[in-house]
């Protein structure tokens, strides 16, 4: 996509942003180490790296949230100090955060002017802002109704509001932090078209992501970060996903999952007409029918918030539901006394929850305390009313070795492990119980590429042992790579099922957007 006609201009103009020797440490952790980068005006510059590689820190320095320990920032050739976000805005930098910073019950227009009102009276500044906003929308083809209330807009639209907010503040440089995390593939394509248009209008865009595909599709230049250092900056058209992955991780990685065809056996999980109504009275699951057989991985695809979490919660035993769920032919209690995590585990259901830091682990507890979690009343972890701490510790040590958890220190608090190692602790706990049914939510969210490979292998190995696996992930690539069969959820319904060998991202993307067959 890199326009060859613009490259001539790039060589002569001053870079829109130039960072020289930026370093930043948090305590003993060196988040950014001597980073230099030049971003040319009118280009889309990708920054890719694993979680914890230092991308967000670097952008926070650029946006004035952190102060660099060392190094200089040049904006359009001029040395600029950015002590706070006001300074960043004044320098023409706009930021679109991963989690939107919008007031939900305000209108689009009210959100746009929030913090940029002129004068003490609201009405004249709203009128003035409306005019500017409509001009901006027209100029960049970003159509949003100025009077729509944010909470009634879809995620894609909310993101447009964030972009408009930056443009309204006359940003020439837009930083987008993992912008596609919450979008359907179709919405992501739309976003990239918008970014193209912005680039044509002369804006400079920095795109932070960990998705190789997006880098390849959308950017002109890409910088790779690893462990706080900038390992390479290359022209996108001169590189390949495999090369970028290697630069990110520092070794060759397998980008696809090596697995044999599934040999499905008996039905392990049988869900019929499952309904869930949440605390606010909103129906989250609207009649789900789904089967998972022994020896197969069924993936649930869908944009976050379409009922996947609720499905996992019901199966995991901490949300009430109506309908019928059978595991190995026996019905599960869906409401009342015996629908809790303990009785689910007793029925051979293990659960790797979507949010390991909130649910799967207790971050202040040590690794060994976490290894017992959920199974702490099992015979082998107990002696009378006491916990058998020695047995749990020994078991944790063994599990840490088998799952290659680093550092292999059972006494270390969960919060001190990296995302990938935290996930390995949860996975070891759940998989090694040898469950009949494994529920896995977002198994590789926030996990580095090196660990992703290992985690996928473990899930496939469990399948090959003849166990049933229900996988929920918002990463379509992961679903397609791992699952044998894919069910797509939209708005509490299952829109359709496909064999993963016989479908592609485009077809699934349509189902995810609610376009039925």
């Amino acid at each position: 996509m890199s326009g060859s006609d613009t490259s001539g201009r790039q060589e002569t103009a001053a870079p829109a942003i130039e960072l020289q020797g930026i370093s930043k440490a948090f305590g003993p952790v060196q988040a950014n180490k001597d980073i230099s980068i030049r971003v040319m005006p009118g280009t889309i510059h990708g920054i890719i790296g694993e979680n914890g590689a230092g991308k967000s820190t670097l952008m926070s320095i650029l946006y004035g949230f952190y102060k660099a320990d060392k190094g200089e920032i040049f904006i359009a050739g001029k040395k600029t100090d950015i002590p706070d976000s006001q300074a960043a805005i004044a320098a023409g930098i706009g930021m679109v955060f991963q989690h939107f910073k919008l007031v939900e019950n305000f209108t689009v227009l009210e959100n746009i002017i929030l913090g940029a009102e002129d004068g003490g009276l609201l009405t004249p500044s709203l009128a003035k802002a409306r005019k500017t906003l409509l001009e901006l929308e027209h100029e960049y083809g970003l159509n949003v109704d100025p009077d729509a209330v944010i909470e009634e807009l879809g995620v894609g639209m909310q993101q447009r509001v964030e972009i408009l907010k930056a443009l309204y503040r006359q940003a020439d440089i837009l930083i987008l932090d993992e912008p596609t995390g919450v979008l359907t593939p179709a919405e992501a394509d739309q976003l990239f078209r918008i970014l193209d248009r912005l680039r044509e209008e002369g804006k400079t865009i920095i795109l932070i992501t960990h998705k190789l595909r997006e880098i390849m599709e959308a950017t002109d230049t890409v910088s790779v970060m690893r462990r706080g250092e900038m390992t390479a900056t290359v022209k996108t058209k001169d590189t390949s996903p495999a090369e970028l992955a290697e630069l990110m991780v520092g070794r060759k990685v397998l980008l696809r999952v090596d697995k044999k065809p599934a040999v499905p056996g008996d039905v392990v999980l049988d869900i019929k007409d499952l309904h869930v109504v949440d605390d606010k009275g909103v129906e989250r699951l609207k009649g789900i029918d789904l089967q998972v057989r022994a020896g197969e991985i069924v993936g649930i695809a869908g944009v976050a918030g379409n009922g996947q979490s609720e499905l996992l919660e019901v199966l995991g035993g901490y949300a009430d539901a109506t309908g019928e769920i059978r595991v190995n032919g026996q019905p599960l209690d869906l409401s009342g006394k015996h629908s809790d995590g303990r009785s689910r585990r007793a029925r051979g259901i293990a659960h790797v929850p979507e949010d390991r830091q909130r649910e799967g682990l207790i971050m202040d507890f040590s690794a060994w305390e976490n290894t017992a979690f959920g199974y702490h009343r099992d015979q082998d972890y107990q002696s009378g009313v006491l916990l058998n701490n020695a047995a749990i510790r020994a078991d944790t040590e063994a599990k840490m070795e088998r799952f290659d958890v680093r550092p292999p220190n059972p006494g270390l608090a969960a919060k001190n492990f990296s995302g990938g190692n935290q996930q390995k602790i949860v996975l070891a706990r759940e998989i090694e119980r040898n469950p009949d049914l494994l529920l896995v939510g977002q198994p590789t969210r926030g996990v580095d590429i090196g660990a992703i490979e290992f985690i996928h292998q473990q899930i496939v190995a469990l399948r090959d042992k003849g166990k049933a696996v229900l996988l929920v992930s918002v990463e379509l690539e992961e679903i397609l790579a791992l699952a044998d069969r894919v069910a797509v959820m939209f708005d509490g319904h299952i829109m359709g099922e496909r064999m993963s060998a016989e479908t592609d991202e485009k077809e699934l993307g349509l189902l995810m957007a609610g376009v039925g067959n």
Partner: protein, 364 residues
């Protein structure tokens, strides 16, 4: 990795906080024209310079130990039990009923019976706010505070209308019978040749409080129940995922907490007053919050903090008695200690963490 070594965390932070509180207190004493060094001298000799002083210091410490442990247990479950005051009051009612209604043959049996009644009444008084929290989501801070007032009113009614001996002008129960009188530290230590002050109120309950410390530690860090309590306190979503019932843990933790607060009554009601009077708790329920905060909700920390506050109470009383420093100022000093050790913890912690980081980097 941890920013600060464990030893610094548990010793340096509270010590520096205390030092700051002491310096500020000294300035306040200077400001009203008294001599701070003489004041400290008086406090130390008054509270720790004699077995009489120690007897009072340990007596107060025993009260604070029970209420401090009570707050700590609830705190580990993520519940802020401010109702120690009310629970201890009701514990007193339990002790009074047990001592007056049952003809105990010996003080050991009376102690067991009264302790049971104290814990039961305290736990019952905590049970209602706990139930409201667990089932209705009424915030435990609000309800336990309200139950302190209700408890005071209940006790007032019971003492004035039901338990006051006929003809007495005093809203208090009759004296407990001789067989329920607990041995003081003087009685306990005399056989082994230590001559402990006869008139100091510290009694056998102090040993029971120490035992309670050990048991609470055991409960929290060695049993699966304690594990569930701590899990729930750290993360409710994780507890639900792990199959731990929020309702059950809220109830259990609050019952234990209320029971511990109630147990305080065997010290002040049975051990010291030997009858139930109005306002027997004297704010120990609230001091328990400070003690738990300062002790980081760890039984050993609570023990040290309870003794410190016992010292401040007794030393403060001596100050009020022998100098022209007014009683109110002693409350100011106690408040400063609470302020620095509890509320301003981060003020000391952050610079210390930075210091340790710098040292580590220089060594690296």
């Amino acid at each position: 990795m941890e920013v600060m070594p464990k030893w610094a965390e548990v010793t340096l932070v509270p010590l520096i906080s205390l030092l700051l509180a002491a310096i500020l207190s000294a300035l306040v004493i200077l400001a009203i024209g008294e001599d701070p060094i003489a004041a400290v001298n008086l406090m130390v000799t008054g509270a720790l310079g004699s077995t009489y002083g120690w007897g009072y210091t340990l007596y107060y410490a025993t009260n604070f130990l029970f209420t401090g442990l009570a707050v700590s247990v609830a705190f580990h479950a993520g519940l802020f039990n401010i109702g120690g005051e009310g629970q201890a009051m009701l514990g007193g009612l339990g002790v009074a009923l047990a001592c007056l209604l049952i003809p105990w043959p010996h003080w050991t049996l009376a102690l067991l019976g009264a302790a049971g009644a104290a814990a039961l009444f305290g736990a019952a008084w905590a049970a209602i706010p706990a139930f409201l929290q667990a089932k209705r989501g009424s915030h435990i801070v609000i309800t336990t505070i309200m139950f302190n007032f209700i408890g005071a009113a209940v006790l007032n009614y019971v003492l004035v209308n039901l338990m006051r001996p006929a003809g007495s002008m005093d809203p208090a129960t009759a004296r407990f019978p001789e067989t329920t009188h607990l041995p003081t530290l003087h009685d306990i230590l005399a056989p082994i040749g230590i001559n402990f002050s006869k008139s100091a109120p510290a009694n056998v309950t102090f040993l029971i409080a120490l035992l309670a410390c050990v048991l609470v530690w055991f409960l929290l860090w060695r049993t699966w129940l304690g594990y569930e309590i701590r899990s729930y306190g750290k993360s409710e979503p994780a507890a639900k995922y792990g199959g731990i019932s929020p309702t059950a843990i809220t109830m259990i933790a609050m019952l234990i907490s209320g029971g511990l607060a109630g147990l305080m009554a065997i010290n002040n009601v049975m051990g010291e007053a030997e009858r139930l009077v109005l306002n027997a708790v004297e704010g120990a329920g609230f001091i328990g919050i400070a003690v738990a905060l300062m002790g980081r909700s760890h039984p050993f920390g609570v023990l040290l903090a309870a003794i410190l506050f016992g010292f401040l109470y007794q030393g403060g009383a001596e100050l009020a008695l022998w100098t022209s420093i007014p009683r109110e100022l002693i409350v100011v000093i106690q408040a400063l200690v609470i302020l620095f050790t509890g509320a301003l913890d981060n003020m000391v912690r952050m610079p210390l963490e930075r210091l340790f980081l710098m040292m580590r980097r220089r060594n690296a």
